[in-house]
Amino acid sequence: MGSSTKKKKEKKKDFQKLKLKVGKAKPKASNFTDTSFKSKSIVVNQQTLVAESSDPAEQFKQNLSLAINAKSDNQRRDALAYITNQLSADTPNNPVGTSGVLTKLLPLMSDGAASVRTQLLKLFRSLPPAEVGPHVEKILMYVRSGMTHLSNDIRSDTLNVLEWVLDVAGDETVSCPGGWLKTLNSFSSMLGWNPSVGSAMSAKGWTSSSRPTLGTKKGPEAQARQIQVLAKFIQTGFRPEAPVPYNAVAYWDNIYCLPGMPNPFAYLNLFGTPRDEDSEMYPDRISRQRVFDAKWRAAIAAGMDGAKKEGGTVGRAAATLDKAMNGRL
């Protein structure tokens, strides 16, 4: 029996009330954790308590980093708004330059918050159009990534960005490497008009090709918008180049002057990885048309016919596209 009484005592021990004694410190609880610490010195990194830095350049940079890193949507949007203001002021304040702003902010195109995206578009519009040209290739990468994004909103907002790029630097857009065919790929996937997937599937004896679900979820308005932007894109691509005014010294300039634009020998692709058909650059209208006829005309025409039959806004947009394709616009 001895062991059982011992056990009983042991069991009781946990529930016994501790006796408090006068003049003695209160006993520590069993789960007490000693949190006191000793430190010889406290190091404080340089820190300014002044929220508003007087230097506008610093402030601009701070907002730029806020726009990327801030966790709250509102904070990001506000930072973007601040930058937009700075850029669209009478004397634009841009310490990092257009390229700096673009490289930092392009990833925001697929930001989760709609307000951020609309603000971003405003910001882009306030950039000086002449300086956007050299960065078109990079912008297009993000545009294509956004156009194939899973989220519908992001896709439609991306179209706005594409429209803006077409406005400010249309020629560069369609002639940069990958700018023509790859963007068309994205469009066709958006609209569900792509022949490659259909053929890949029908080869296996699958009768009904799947209906595009990504593009049509939001109804005809979204599709009409997509067709419109596509029409604009194709129209830009097929636009006859403005004849270069005669310049008597052009020949000599070509030989002896430094070229006026960045990367003038891009079409040679001297240092990049070898390009395939999709990412090749199509610098002039004829080559663009040739590739389009070979790869996309049939598919887009087929899709367009379907869209025309639908009528309404989609039909009207398809009609515009038709005109653009046939160069009647």
């Binding site: 029996m1 990327i68 890193n69 966790k71 490289t103 990833p107 697929s110 989760g112 918050a113 990079k138 990468m141 993000y142 294509r144 990534s145 156009m147 194939t148 994004h149 899973l150 989220s151 519908n152 990958g178 790859k182 790929n185 994205s186 996937s189 958006m190 569900g192 792509n194 490659s196 997937v197 890949a200 599937m201 296996k204 699958w206 799947s210 209906r211 595009p212 679900t213 990504l214 990885t273 990412s279």
Partner: protein, 744 residues
């Protein structure tokens, strides 16, 4: 790089995991969606490739997710995703140093996944991963790649050996080791080879060749890796095999639990799995043991290898390897010499410098020397070494451990080449059994008993012992000659022969054959076997007459073999112990034996019988007297390696052990107990842990006192008759198996 939180709504929409699930369920319907994601992947990839170093964390994350998706469904859309594997390879090869850690891991994992889905083949995967493994500075990536490479090789060899892949990889490893002998990159070759050897995936000569080249490298680490492989690789392999067979399941327990617990499909499956596993284990137990040669045996051209190894790393004075590593190399060289009976004469003179008691790790040197000795080493090469050991180690002035180690080392050398000893030196060493130290005594006695067995002539008469003296007289102990090889044969074949003869005899008797026919037949057989006793008789008498038996007692050392023959003849002549006819019979039988093995094919039944007879004979021998040395020689293969511990062993005998050592030795092999507890308590705890109940006895002992008090009181009040009846009942019950009549 803090990841931004994704809003809930967006998460639902942009859920790639969900999409992946849907695609896998119904790839045809989701082809369009997949194509979109493929384009997204492509776009993201371009963003990434355009500036991999400065890309934002968001983009990296997106790319990571897209790679994951595409990799998981790549096998469903082979046409669309054809360039995917190449993309990943390029990315990894070009940017592995700058890639984000998670993304890098994902790319490696995706490549392996593609391999598992058989989108790419093993060769292309391994040839991608291997160069990165060698060149990357990141430790985590290296370990990841290493495990992936090993597991892929394992998997592709799991069903059947993939010879082609193995050959490719082995060639790559071989080239890696041989292309740049000074670099540490060869380490990876040794590591991979060793691991695959351990797992018995590679068991042929090619990996040994890789390791051989590693041993001949200039880099110390690579050399040590190769050497360690040869010294310990096979043991590791055996241990691995034991380990894998160790894990056993208590099927009874599983079955029992299934009766108690709720019956679910999951539990049922677990039970079936356990049964299947046990069956598999059984099958493996009964399967034929795969014949795996040890790496040391598979070496091509061991003589050249050992010579090169010795010249490059040991003899070369410019070599700056540490002593430990040199010792390892020496071990390998000497092991090869002993095992393959190689001849490297300069090796023995090289040893001289190191055979002093002050040399660091001298016992290892001594062990290596013993390893390097075999019966084909000229005795005059070893003799100076033995003399040196004796002079340096064994003297009254030297410490007892040193003397013991020295004598033991000499014994080990002499065990392998008994001719290395001179008479005076042996006498001197044997005298050490009068020493005060137990270790020295044991070592000296060991040397003495060795020589009693192998070469008693060298011992003084009084040290020879009874058996050796008798053996010498009867001529059983043969004279040793340098380079003489014992005839090989099948152990116990003579027993089988005898048995067969007996059986034939019996059969004939049963058939009632006449004695004539029997004799005739026997004669025929004798002729067949080439048995001609008369020839032998004549020859032996010849030698008898020519040999001068007067020389026997002289101790002259000149012309030993001649002397020996004389002595042998003499011993045949002098006492009545043995007669010539008996010897003749022995030789005749020997001839017949060789005939049996070469003229007939032994059937499995024969072999089984042979095994049985051998066992019987062994029991007979064990009952009778058989020298310890012989047993030891049988048990311990002379070819096995020798370690420094073996040399130090006798010195341990004289040492007093401390209390800790004694306790440790007592605890050895017993189950761990964390606190002091009685055996009973431990057993009880074990039982409880197994979920077993208590015994009736225990229950009775633990029963509450108040519950038993009534019966106890009543017992006191019983009458004598009642008590008698109770006792009788007890006896009868105990005879008839208790109240329940157990066992009836």
């Amino acid at each position: 790089m803090v990841k931004r939180k994704v809003a809930a709504l967006e998460k639902v929409e942009a859920d790639l995991v969900n999409l992946q699930y849907k695609i896998r369920r119904d790839p045809r319907s989701y082809a369009q969606e997949f194509y979109d994601q493929w384009l997204a992947y492509d776009a993201q990839r371009q963003i990434f490739v355009s500036s991999p170093a400065t890309v934002s964390s968001d983009d990296t994350k997106k790319f990571h997710d897209l790679v994951d998706l595409v990799a998981h469904v790549a096998d469903l859309y082979p046409e669309v995703t054809a360039p995917f594997a190449n993309h990943l390879k390029e990315l990894l090869i070009q940017h592995h140093a700058t890639l984000d850690k998670e993304l890098r891991e994902k790319v490696v994992g995706s490549l392996v996944l593609l391999r598992r889905k058989e989108v790419i083949d093993s060769t292309s995967l391994l040839t991608t991963l291997f160069p990165i493994l060698i060149s990357t500075p990141s430790k985590t990536l290296r370990s990841l790649l290493y495990t992936k490479i090993i597991s892929d090789l394992r998997e592709s060899n799991s069903k059947a050996t993939n010879h082609r892949l193995n050959r490719t990889i082995q060639t790559v490893l071989h080239n890696l080791v041989t292309s740049d002998r000074t670099s540490t990159k060869g380490m990876w070759a040794t590591r991979i080879t060793r691991e695959l050897w351990r797992r018995q995936i590679w068991t042929d000569a090619r990996p040994c060749d890789v390791m051989k080249e590693a041993c001949l490298s200039d880099n110390e680490k690579v050399v040590v890796g190769g050497v360690r492989f040869f010294l310990g690789g096979d043991k590791e392999r055996e241990e691995m095999e034991d380990e894998s067979s160790d894990e056993d399941i208590d099927i009874k327990k599983v079955k029992h639990q299934s009766t108690i617990n709720k019956k679910t499909k999951k539990r049922q499956k677990a039970y079936e799995k356990a049964v299947e596993k046990i069956k598999r284990q059984e099958r493996r137990k009964h399967a034929a043991h795969p014949l795996n040669f040890s790496a040391l045996h598979l070496i091509h051209d061991p003589q050249g290898f050992a010579e090169k190894l010795f010249q490059k790393h040991l003899q070369n004075t410019k070599n700056r390897f540490s002593l430990d590593n040199k010792l390892l190399i020496l071990q390998l060289v000497t092991r090869l010499v002993g095992l393959h009976k190689l001849t490297i004469i300069s090796l023995y003179s090289w040893f001289v410098r190191y055979l002093t008691p002050k040399q660091l790790n001298v016992t290892s040197f001594l062990a290596s020397l013993a390893q390097a000795t075999h019966n084909l080493v000229p005795p005059d090469v070893i003799e100076p070494l033995v003399v040196k050991i004796a002079n340096e180690f064994v003297s009254e002035a030297s410490a007892s451990e040193v003397a013991a180690a020295g004598i033991n080392a000499i014994r080990e050398v002499a065990l392998r080449q008994p001719l290395c000893m001179t008479e005076t030196l042996l006498q001197d060493l044997v005298m050490y059994q009068r020493s005060k130290d137990k270790g020295v005594v044991m070592a000296a006695k060991g040397l003495q008993s060795l020589y009693r067995e192998v070469y008693p002539e060298l011992l003084q008469k009084k040290y020879r012992g009874k058996e050796a003296t008798m053996g010498m007289r009867s001529g059983q102990v043969k004279q040793l000659r340098f380079g003489e090889e014992e005839d090989g044969g099948i152990e116990g074949i003579e027993l089988l022969e005898k048995y067969k003869e007996e059986q034939r005899q019996k059969k004939r008797e049963e058939q009632g054959l006449t004695a004539d026919g029997d004799a005739e037949k026997k004669e025929d057989e004798d002729e067949d076997d080439g048995f001609n006793s008369e020839d032998w008789e004549v020859a032996s008498t010849d030698s008898e007459s020519s040999g001068g038996w007067i020389d026997v007692s002289s101790e002259s050392d000149d012309d030993e073999p001649a002397k020996k023959r004389r002595r042998q003849d003499d011993s045949e002549e002098a006492p009545e112990l043995v007669d010539t006819s008996k010897q003749d019979a022995a030789t005749a039988e020997y001839n017949r034996i060789s005939k049996l093995a070469t003229t007939t094919i032994l059937t499995p039944a024969d072999l089984a019988k042979l095994e049985e007879l051998r066992r019987e004979a062994k029991i007979d021998k064990a009952l009778g007297r058989q020298s310890k040395r012989k047993k030891e020689l049988i048990e311990k293969h002379i070819e096995d390696g020798l370690t420094a511990e073996d040399i130090e062993l006798p010195a341990q005998l004289g040492k007093k052990t401390t209390k800790e050592e004694r306790i440790a030795r007592a605890r050895e092999g017993k189950p761990e107990r964390e606190e002091h507890k009685s055996t009973q308590a431990i057993r009880k705890a074990k039982k409880e842990a197994e979920g077993k109940s208590t015994t009736n006895k225990e229950k009775a002992r633990k029963k509450n006192f108040l519950m038993t008090i009534g019966k106890a009181k009543a017992k006191n009040k019983r009458s004598l008759v009642e008590t008698r009846n109770v006792l009788r009942g007890h006896i009868s019950r105990s005879k008839s198996g208790g109240r329940r009549k157990n066992g009836l």
